[in-house]
Each structure stands twice: as C-alpha cells, then as structure tokens.
C-alpha cells in the first residue's frame, strides 16, 4: 500500500511539474520570440528542427533574390539548431534516466521514499519535451497539408496566366499581320453572327495550339471592336453555375482583353471570370 501511494505521488508530481514547466517555458519562449532569441526558442521548444526549416527558408529566399546567405547568420543558426537538438535528445533523456537511477539508489539506501533532484529536473524536462514535440509535429502535419495544397492551386493559376499570355501574344500578332501573311482582321471576329451579340471561336482556328489542360476561346462583341481570350481550366470555379466560354459549366476561367492597337498588347481587364475554388470557399 505504502509503495502504491508512493508511485501515485511520483506520477502526480511528474504531471504537475510537466504542466507548470511547460506553461512557463511556452510563456518564456513567446516573450523571447518577440525579441528573436532563436537560441532560447531552440532550447525550450524541444523542436529545434523548426530552426532547420527556418534556415532553409532563408536560403531559399536568398536563392530567389540571387544572393548568398550571410555566413555568420548561417553558422549561428546551425549552432543554435544543434545545441537545441542535443539538449532535447541527449541531455533531457540523460537527466530523466539519471533521475530514475538516482531515485532508485536513494530509495534502496534509505527508508524514506524521496526523489532525487535529478529526478525532478529529468521528469519535468521529459514531459515538456514529449508534449512539445508532439504538439509541434501535429501542427506541422496540419500546416503541411494546407500550405502545399494552397501552393499547388497558386501554381495552377500562374500556369493558366502564362498559357493565356502566350495565346494573347499570338492573337495580337495575327491581328497585326496582313492577310497574305496569315493575319486576321478585327472585322472578321466582330462581324454580326445571326443576330448574336457575342461571337465565340476556338483559339486553334487561328493559331497552332500545343496540347494543354486548358481550353482557350476567342470571344468578341459584334457591336464593338472588343476581342477577348477566355481560358477555361479543368478545375472547379467559385461560381458553380457559371457558363464557361468553351461550353462547360462552373469551371475556373480567366480572361484578357486584347489591345493590338497600343503597346500594352493585352490586359487582364476581366481578371478572374470565375476564380479557382479553394478549400476556404
């Protein structure tokens, strides 16, 4: 019975110590984070891998701007990372193990059932480490899924814009060229078509189009010399009943207005006709 009470006290003490130590360390880290004390962050977050990710973000951003990362910054981040790593995976487990061994020695030598100082420190740190790294991992998994899904959607829109720009350049060229060189006149596109106010053509009727996941249509108004290119994607747009230029319904669509008469050549005057549907929509 005496042993059972002792074991219960031991477990309760571990949990309480862990909670108190964790809350105070998070508060400390939050405070120091504002002051950008990476070192303390690495030591007390027990997730120094975050710093490794941060270091690579800085390297990637420097690569983006064509500059090299300052070597002092590079080495300071590396040293902070490895210090935090050693603290979390070497010092803390060692303290925890030592605490248990010391306590066992103490209890076998002495009638009193106390705990060693290393046991208190080791237990507190190990609980902090377990809670912290579990939380950091869960948050990382959650953010990983969302972040890269959003990045893929953004890349899709960028690709659509690039495709549409290429098509716009080709169409502007066709509108500039005389007929004997394969050109087309605005009047051909804007001519009244059985009373319809809007004429629609497939881009491939005018220019060679490589295989693509996008459909591009040429749309013109018969009452004014207004020619637009509409790109329709395979992915869903925000407006589910949107009538796409290629005859589809509810798909992502982007449009530009051609300006063959001035230097701007074309403009995203209509921007997103039907913006890409995202998780938050």
């Amino acid at each position: 019975m005496k042993e059972l009470i002792s074991a219960s006290w031991k477990n309760i003490t571990i949990i309480l110590l862990g909670i108190v130590a964790y809350i105070s360390s998070v508060a400390l880290v939050e405070y120091l984070l504002a002051a950008q004390f990476d070192f303390i962050l690495a030591m007390f977050s027990f997730a120094s891998g975050t710093l490794m990710s941060g270091l690579h973000s800085e390297l990637a951003i420097q690569g983006f701007s064509g500059e090299a990362l300052d070597s002092v910054r590079y080495w300071s981040l590396n040293l902070i990372f490895i210090t935090g790593f050693i603290f979390a995976l070497y010092i803390v487990p060692f303290l925890y193990t030592k605490g248990n061994v010391d306590t066992q020695n103490m209890q076998s030598d002495d009638e009193e059932r106390g705990f060693s100082l290393s046991w208190y420190a080791g237990s507190a740190f190990i609980v902090m480490a377990l809670v912290s790294i579990t939380m950091a991992t869960s948050v990382s998994i959650y953010h990983y899924n969302h972040k890269w899904k959003a990045a893929a959607q953004s890349a899709y829109v960028d690709e659509a814009r690039t495709e549409l720009s290429k098509a716009a350049f080709k169409m502007v060229e066709k509108l500039i060229l005389p007929k004997e060189y394969g050109g087309i006149s605005v009047s051909e596109l804007t001519a009244e078509n059985n009373g319809d106010m809007e004429n629609k053509f497939e881009l491939k009727e005018f220019v060679d189009v490589p295989e693509s996941e996008f459909d591009i249509s040429v749309v013109s108004d018969s009452d004014e010399a207004n020619i637009r290119l509409h790109l329709t994607g395979e992915q869903a747009g925000v407006i589910t009943d949107f009538e796409n230029a290629n005859g589809d319904k509810g798909k992502f669509e982007l449009a530009v207005e051609l300006h063959s008469e001035n230097e701007k050549l074309f403009a995203y005057s209509y921007d997103f006709e039907n913006a890409l549907k995202t998780d938050s929509d």
């Binding site: 270091l55 973000s57 487990p93 061994v101 790294i133 690039t162 350049f169 060229e173 500039i176 394969g182």
Partner: protein, 214 residues
C-alpha cells in the same frame, strides 16, 4: 553513473562533429538525418547501460517507451521539416522562373510586335526595313555591345537580352537569365553561362518566332 556520463559525452561529441561536418558541406539536412541516427544509437546505448540499475521491469519498460516515443516523434518531425524545406525551395524556384519568363515574354513581345505593327502600317513605296524600324524603336537602349536594355532598369539584373541582325530582314534576340536556372543543367548559354534559362526570338515581316530553348 560514471559509465553513463562517458556514453553521454562521447555521443554528444560524435553528434556535434557529424552535424558540423555536413553543415560545413552545406548539406544540413543530411547532417540532421545523421544526428537523428546518432541520437537513436545514444538512446539505445543509454537504456542498455542502465538496464541492470533499474530493478522494476515495469519502470524500465516505461522509460524505454518514453525514449522510443521521443525519438519516433522527432524523426517524424524532422521528416516534415525536410519535406517543407524542399517544397519551399522548389516552389520559390518555380515562382522565380514564372516571374522571369513572363516578364521576358512581355518585354520582348512589346518591342517585337510594335515593330511589326509599325512595319506593316507603312505606306507602300516608302518602306523602311524591319531591322531599321526595330533599331529606331529601341534607340539608345541598344548598346554598342548589342545588349538591349530593358525599359525597366531593374529587370536587367534578372536577365540580359542580346541582339543580332541578319541583313535588314531578321532581328534575333537571345535572352539569358542571370538567376533562374533552366531545365538542362549543362546547357551552354548564348553568353557563356551554363544552365540558365534561354529564350530566343526572331522577328521577320512574317511575324515573331518565339521559343524557350532552355
């Protein structure tokens, strides 16, 4: 605990040296992976060393479980950080490439298509050649080294446009990026760089031939 202190010290030194060597080689994630492997060796050795000092089997199992969990979660966390870092690197490279290629396309087409337009709008009889019109249009932006300066000076840091005229009927532009890498790493660029994006464009009275060659 003397033996355990020795285990701690030797393993910490080994981990530190291993990581710093790879950090020096700028292979930080390889160093991170090896540091994790070294940590697993340390935790295993430590638990083996204290096995005889913990009399309760249950207590020893709990300790081993805690160590195993701590290591496993750190391993998963490290894996996610690695995937995040490599995705971020790739995404930023793609964004840079997209921005550069789109700006180049606009920059080049503006000069070439407006030249083409001016050429075809001339009255018959007083025709200037397409090369002449192009040179008139770009004016001072075309240096004696045949490098065409962008209208926006800031863009010049991202890429360089070289011009070649063939007689008075063909304007050729060779654009090479200064930061963004192309698809083929060993591609020999027009300006003796290697592996950068290269876009070639030709303008005749029949139109613009525009192609990304790397």
């Amino acid at each position: 605990m003397k033996k355990e202190y020795q285990i701690l010290l030797t393993n910490v030194v080994a981990c530190l040296v291993l990581y710093l060597v790879f950090a020096y080689l700028e292979l930080t994630f390889v160093g991170y992976g090896l540091a994790l492997a070294a940590a697993s060796v340390f935790l295993y050795t430590l638990m083996k060393a204290v096995r005889s000092k913990i009399s309760s089997k249950r207590e020893y199992k709990i300790m081993a479980g805690v160590m195993g969990y701590l290591f496993a979660v750190n391993l998963i966390f490290g894996g996610i950080q690695y995937m995040n870092a490599s995705n971020q690197h790739e995404t930023l490279e793609t964004i840079r490439e997209t921005i550069d290629t789109n700006i180049i396309a606009i920059d080049i087409h503006q000069d070439l298509l407006t030249t083409l337009k001016t050429y075809h709008e001339q009255e018959s009889g007083s025709q200037k050649s397409i090369v002449h019109i192009f040179e008139e249009r770009v004016g001072d932006r075309l240096g004696s080294d045949r490098v065409l300066k962008s209208k926006n000076a800031a863009k010049m840091e991202a890429y360089t446009i070289y011009t070649e005229m063939k007689g008075d009927t063909l304007v050729q532009l060779f654009t090479v990026t200064n930061i963004s890498k192309g698809e083929k790493e060993n591609f020999d660029n027009y300006n003796d760089q290697v592996g950068m994006i290269q876009i070639e464009a030709g303008l005749t009275e029949r139109g613009v031939d525009y192609e990304r060659v790397n």
